[in-house]
């Protein structure tokens, strides 16, 4: 979904960096602020969270704080539904070149979906 939404908006991102926590350069606006906030929300350092929240409020505004909090809440919970039921990935076109590139970046080339 990130790849598709970035493709649609013409922005760029570094998937390896995103997975490793080394964000690097992305073309997505306020990406560093959002990632810092998301990591702080699911972490246990309250002072870090205060700084991240204040920075998000400063650069993106109060509505963005609500929706960033909501997005973190959504994905911090839905990942558990996926991981703890053993559902497989949805059917995707493995012959699509962009999918093949994604599998290589994720290091899951050759793994079965189920």
């Amino acid at each position: 979904m990130l790849r598709e939404s970035a493709h649609q908006s013409g922005s760029t991102f570094d998937l390896d960096g995103l997975i490793d926590g080394q964000l690097g350069t992305t073309g997505i606006a306020h990406s560093a602020t959002l990632i810092a906030f998301a990591e702080a929300v699911v972490g246990d350092d309250d002072a870090r969270l205060d700084r991240a929240r204040n920075e998000l409020l400063r650069v993106m505004g109060p509505d963005a704080l609500v929706d960033a909090s909501a997005t973190v809440a959504s994905f911090n919970s839905v990942v558990r539904v996926a991981s703890c039921t053993g559902i497989p990935l949805d059917d995707i076109d493995e012959n699509d070149g962009r999918n093949q590139q994604l599998f290589q970046e994720l290091g899951i080339t050759g793994l079965r979906k189920t």
């Binding site: 979904m1 990130l2 598709e4 939404s5 649609q8 908006s9 922005s11 991102f13 998937l15 995103l18 997975i19 926590g21 997505i28 606006a29 306020h30 990406s31 959002l34 990632i35 906030f37 998301a38 990591e39 929300v41 699911v42 309250d46 969270l49 205060d50 929240r53 204040n54 409020l57 505004g61 109060p62 509505d63 963005a64 704080l65 609500v66 929706d67 960033a68 909090s69 909501a70 997005t71 973190v72 809440a73 959504s74 994905f75 911090n76 919970s77 839905v78 990942v79 558990r80 539904v81 996926a82 991981s83 703890c84 039921t85 053993g86 559902i87 497989p88 990935l89 949805d90 899951i108």
Partner: protein
């Protein structure tokens, strides 16, 4: 502004409404769990953050090498505490063998799925509060009532470790859990063994994130964040939680 302080940033009304519905579901008698057990599961989600066994397991190379007893907040059976704590603190390393082991300890498949829905819903509610910067909500009082013990007749072992219900296997007795999904993704089928849990969780989840028809509508933005900003957060959260999906 410090964590726990209230501030004046308004919250979308659909969010506050969805939060109220989610707490209402938690406090009502469920499909397999009593209302008291459901509220106790929510309490265990919070307790897990301070559980020494959970911390030790999370730090271990494999959580399955660390034995012990959880520091529980309730009188739930030990296997229910184990499920609630493990999903709350280390979901990325849950395995099918662990799932089968909790069934061998006497847990019913429906109980497992309902607890998973409760843990995920409680985490969503609490994560939003923490991000927004307000205290966690007080746990609700359990309402009287008895579990329905309803199991969809068409639910089968077919897609996942847990039984799931395909759209074509819905019967007139089942709630129309896939209305609006054309077709549903696997993630939406994951909790379908317990339709109430599936509906309660995704009611909140889609209010926090995006409604089904909005997810792929890249021509419009529905939030104060763009699609790619939201998916950036999603991807980072998936990596932090070691989620493959």
């Amino acid at each position: 502004m410090a964590t726990g302080e209230m501030h004046r940033t308004p919250i979308r009304e659909d969010v506050t409404d969805a939060e109220a519905r989610a707490w209402g579901w938690i406090r009502r008698s469920g499909t397999w769990l009593t209302a008291r057990q459901k509220v106790a599961v929510a309490a265990e989600v919070r307790q897990a953050q301070a559980c020494a066994l959970c911390a030790e397991r999370k730090a271990a190379l494999s959580p399955y090498t660390v034995a012990g007893a959880h520091g529980a907040a309730s009188d739930l059976p030990a296997v229910m505490v184990e499920v609630a704590h493990r999903i709350a603190t280390d979901s990325g390393r849950v395995t099918r063998a662990w799932y089968e082991s909790v069934l061998e300890q006497g847990m019913l498949e429906g109980e497992y799925v309902e607890i998973l829905g409760l843990v995920a819903t409680t985490i969503a509610l609490d994560t939003f509060s923490r991000g927004y910067g307000r205290p966690l909500a007080a746990l609700p009082e359990a309402q009287p009532g008895q579990p329905s013990r309803y199991r969809p007749a068409g639910a089968k072992h077919q897609l996942a470790w847990v039984p799931t219900l395909e759209p074509g296997d819905l019967t007139p007795d089942d709630p129309d859990i896939y209305a609006g999904y054309h077709p549903p993704y696997n993630i939406q089928k994951a909790l379908s063994l317990v339709p109430e849990a599936m509906q309660a969780f995704f009611d909140l989840d889609e209010t926090f994130y995006l409604q089904e028809q909005e997810i792929l509508d890249f021509a419009h933005e529905y939030r104060a964040l763009t699609h790619d900003q939201m998916e950036l957060i999603a991807a980072r959260l998936s990596a932090l939680n070691r989620c493959y999906y």
